[in-house]
């Protein structure tokens, strides 16, 4: 019995590893030296849903990837827990209620990297292979993107 449970756990881990291997890890980034090194998933969600969230002594300014990209879809699902349609309906509803708009979207990973590096308080996400030296990866709930448990991936 023990052997069987062990086998199942290993299989699930392998499957989880395989699943992570399908999408690229999306690393939450901010400007280097901003002082923000860790953020909870709930703050991250609130920040990207338009609520004021501070970090590193500054109000965080979220920047999204362009809609309908694997990075945006994966981030919305993993962080906001919403499908692209649900995200669209959410922001339409907010707009109708006069409660502010969605975070600015940037057209490419290069733009994100540039804005995240230069704009004070900026927070965004990048594929792991797009990280540059002037941006600061941020842990989510204390899990680094290098950790196998890190589960924010592109779709």
């Amino acid at each position: 019995m023990k052997t069987a449970i062990t086998t199942v756990v290993i299989a699930l881990c392998v499957a989880g590893s395989l699943a992570h291997a399908d999408g690229k890890k999306l690393v939450v980034v901010t400007a280097k030296g901003s002082g923000l090194t860790n953020i909870s998933r709930s703050d991250l969600k609130r920040c990207f849903l338009g609520e004021p969230v501070s970090g590193g002594g500054k109000t965080l300014v979220p920047f999204n990837a362009t809609t309908a990209t694997p990075e945006r879809t994966g981030f919305d699902k993993a962080v906001l827990g919403m499908s692209p349609d649900a995200v669209g309906r959410f922001w339409v509803d907010r707009k109708v209620r006069g409660q502010g708009g969605a975070p600015r979207s940037l057209p490419s990973a290069a733009h994100i990297a540039k804005v995240a590096a230069k704009f004070p308080g900026a927070i965004s996400y990048l594929p792991e292979d797009q990280l540059t030296s002037d941006i600061q990866p941020v842990q989510v709930d204390g899990v680094s993107h290098t950790d196998g448990r890190y589960n924010i991936v592109s779709q």
């Binding site: 920047f63 600015r104 230069k118 704009f119």
Partner: protein, 692 residues
């Protein structure tokens, strides 16, 4: 038109043209002025209406563009990324109206620039969201903020060149409209002046033409008046009646004067049929029918004209009428009717005919006095026989015989009267009426009066050839018995058959010439036979019909004879011979023969037996049967042969008919030989041929 009238007409025309020219010019100038004014007003209106809108549009673009671009370029400005900022300019950078876009960061350093602007300080010196007007542009700027932090400024400079271009275009349109209007007015005026000048010239020419035409018309009118006077003179003095009618018979007004003198003046619009019909109703009826046929167009016009009546009698005068079509483009327009009084001509012709007749009669009397006397006696008897009503059939035969015998002796006028009467009887199928009897008797009385001058007193003489006398004397010397001599001398009072044959031959010769059958070869054989004149008169009178039938129906025309290789001259033979106590008289021709099938058809048509040859031979001697299609004045009524049949039967004789198709007909009459009818002293002779 008089000269004054022409001048007035010319003045009116000139005034009208000047007035028309002035009116056109006024209308043209007014039209051009209105057009120019409308166009000018329209341009101004467009300018006033759309100019401010264009300006507002440009200003809105500057302010709105600055605000929009400040929002889209905020991130680029925040990170001082020129490419991002330029990328955010988007469609504004493509607009022709946008002269320049300048984006500066929070430190007022230019991050990105599109287009050119000499100096940007005046633009950014003004408050945000306000308009800055410079030379040829209007500009505005807006701050770019992120989360309340100003990260830079974006200024949009819009060129006002489009507005100035539009104003310049409207100005050009105004000027062009004005110039075009003036040019159009000038050109129109020139054109109007040109054409009115041409019209004036043409008007002048027309006046000249009119004047010339008037002169020509007057000259032509004078000429026509002269002609009409000449024509009227002719029509007033010509002795023929000239009238013209239309195809409906309506009389034209012009006619020769003699027509009025003959028939009185016609009523206005009267037709020729009514006009002439007052005097000759029957002529008018035929004329009406002829004109109707002409109008119908079913028959050729030539035939219709040929069928129009050509003679009528009015009172004591007889008129001939001729018709001449007056056509235009092959269409009958009018008919020229030429009426001639031919009364004198007819009278003269009749007198000449009677004169010729008298000469011919005189010749006949001289040649055969006895025969002529006999003919007169017989004709007197025949005329007397029909003076009172009798058997209609016999009466018709009598008239036919009278006609034939008169023809033999040259009494053509009376023969024509008989023929006319026969025609009337044939058409009416009625017996002779009292008027016809009286007419025939009167005509014969007149004929007798004329003949009396020629015939004079009758001479009771016996004509004898010297040869016959010598022969009798010789016989007496030889001891001829007294009773035989008495018989011979008695026979001298009889008529030689040869003389009868001679008369018939002469008649045949004349008839053949008249009918175009050419000259005849005549053969006569008489054997010296004499026959009692009084007893045999009916037979000889009827024999004329045999001769007329032979010539008219039997003998072919020369062209037919030539086609059938027959001798050119037809042959007619007469013979009288004795044989075995019987007298045989025969008449033969070499014509086409009797068409027995035609006889059969005609016999059946009148209800006669026609089965055997004997039936057919009897049929040709029946009353009312003839193979002729048309009855002529010669034969064809079918009464002559029946008269002959009766005459032969009265003498106890028989008739034989021998017909060979294409070879001719021989008719033989056999009689019992009676006493004293034959001169026995002369031997049979060969035929006495002669050529006419």
């Amino acid at each position: 038109m008089t000269q004054r009238g022409q001048a007035n007409a010319g003045a009116v025309t000139s005034f009208s043209i000047r007035k028309l020219r002035t009116l056109i010019l006024i209308a043209l100038v007014t039209g051009v002025a209105v057009f120019t004014g409308v166009m000018f007003t329209l341009v101004q209106s467009l300018s006033e209406r759309f100019g401010p809108q264009v300006v507002a549009d440009l200003e809105w673009r500057a302010m709105r563009g600055a605000q929009e671009l400040a929002r889209t370029a905020d991130v680029g400005l925040a990170v001082s990324d020129t490419a991002m900022v330029k990328e955010s300019f988007g469609a504004y950078a493509q607009s022709a109206d946008v002269q320049a876009i300048i984006a500066v960061d929070a430190k007022s350093e230019v991050i990105a620039r599109h287009g050119q602007l000499a100096a940007i300080e005046p633009v950014f010196a003004a408050p945000p969201a306000t308009l800055v007007r410079g030379p040829g542009y209007v500009a505005s700027w807006a701050p770019a903020t992120i989360e309340g932090n100003q990260v830079g400024k974006v200024a949009v400079v819009v060129s006002t060149r489009r507005m100035s271009d539009a104003e310049a275009l409207l100005s050009r349109v105004s000027r062009t409209t004005l110039i075009a209007g003036l040019a159009g007015a000038l050109l129109g005026a020139l054109v109007i002046l040109f054409f009115t000048r041409q019209v004036s010239v043409r008007d002048s020419q027309l006046k000249d033409y009119a004047a010339t035409l008037e002169q020509k018309v007057e000259a032509r009118t004078r000429e026509l008046d002269e002609r009409n006077r000449g024509m009227r003179l002719v029509l007033d003095n010509v002795d023929q009646g000239f009238l013209t009618i239309d195809p409906h018979g309506a009389l034209a007004s012009e006619r020769s004067s003699i027509v009025d003198r003959w028939f009185g003046a016609p009523e206005p619009g009267e037709r020729l049929t009514g006009y002439i019909g007052r005097h000759a109703p029957e002529f008018a009826t035929w004329l009406e029918l002829g004109l109707e046929s002409l109008r119908d167009g079913f028959l050729p016009p030539e035939l219709c004209f040929a069928q129009l009546p050509t003679r009528f009698t009015a009172g004591a005068s007889t008129y001939n009428v001729a018709y001449s079509p007056i056509q235009r483009d092959d269409e009958l327009q009018r008919i020229l009717v030429i009426v001639s009084d031919v009364t004198e001509h007819i009278t003269r012709e009749r007198a000449e005919r009677e004169q010729r007749e008298i000469v011919a009669l005189f010749q006949r009397i001289t040649a055969d006095r006895a025969g002529f006397d006999e003919f007169i006696d017989e004709a007197n008897d025949l005329v007397a026989s029909i003076a009172t009503p009798g058997d209609p059939v016999v009466e018709r035969r009598t008239i036919h015989t009278l006609k034939g015998n008169c023809g033999i002796y040259g009494l053509d006028s009376y023969a024509a009267e008989c023929h006319h009467l026969e025609t009337e009887l044939a058409e009416s199928s009625a017996p002779l009426d009292a008027a016809q009897r009286a007419r025939l008797a009167d005509a014969w009385r007149t004929t007798n009066q004329r003949l009396a001058k020629l015939v004079g007193m009758r001479r009771n003489v016996v004509e004898l050839d010297f040869a016959d006398l010598a022969r009798v004397v010789d016989k007496v010397r030889q001891g001829l018995a007294g009773h035989e001599l008495a018989a011979v001398l008695t026979s001298w009072s009889h008529e030689p058959v040869a003389r009868r044959f001679e008369r018939l031959a002469n008649h045949a010769i004349n008839l053949a010439r008249r009918l175009g059958k050419g000259d005849l070869d005549i053969a006569i054989t008489d054997d010296g036979i004499r026959l009692d004149t009084a007893v045999w008169a009916p037979f000889w009178a009827a024999m004329v019909h045999v001769v007329r039938n032979a010539v008219d129906h039997g003998i072919e025309p020369p062209e037919v004879r030539a086609a059938t290789a027959k001798p050119a001259r037809p042959k007619l033979s007469f013979s009288a011979t004795r044989a075995r106590g019987r007298l045989l008289i025969a008449v033969a021709d070499d014509g086409r023969g009797i068409d027995w099938e035609e006889v059969r058809v005609r016999a059946r048509a009148v209800g006669l037996p026609a089965e055997s040859q004997a039936d057919l031979e009897r049929a040709i001697f029946a009353d009312g049967l003839s193979t002729a299609t048309v009855a002529t004045d010669t034969s064809g009524r079918g009464v002559g042969m029946s008269a002959l049949r009766d005459a032969v039967a009265a003498r106890g004789g028989t008739i034989e008919v021998e017909s060979t198709p294409g070879r001719g007909v021989t008719i033989r009459y056999r009689f019992p030989e009676a006493d004293g009818q034959i001169l026995p002293l002369r031997p049979p002779t060969q035929p006495n041929f002669r050529t006419a």
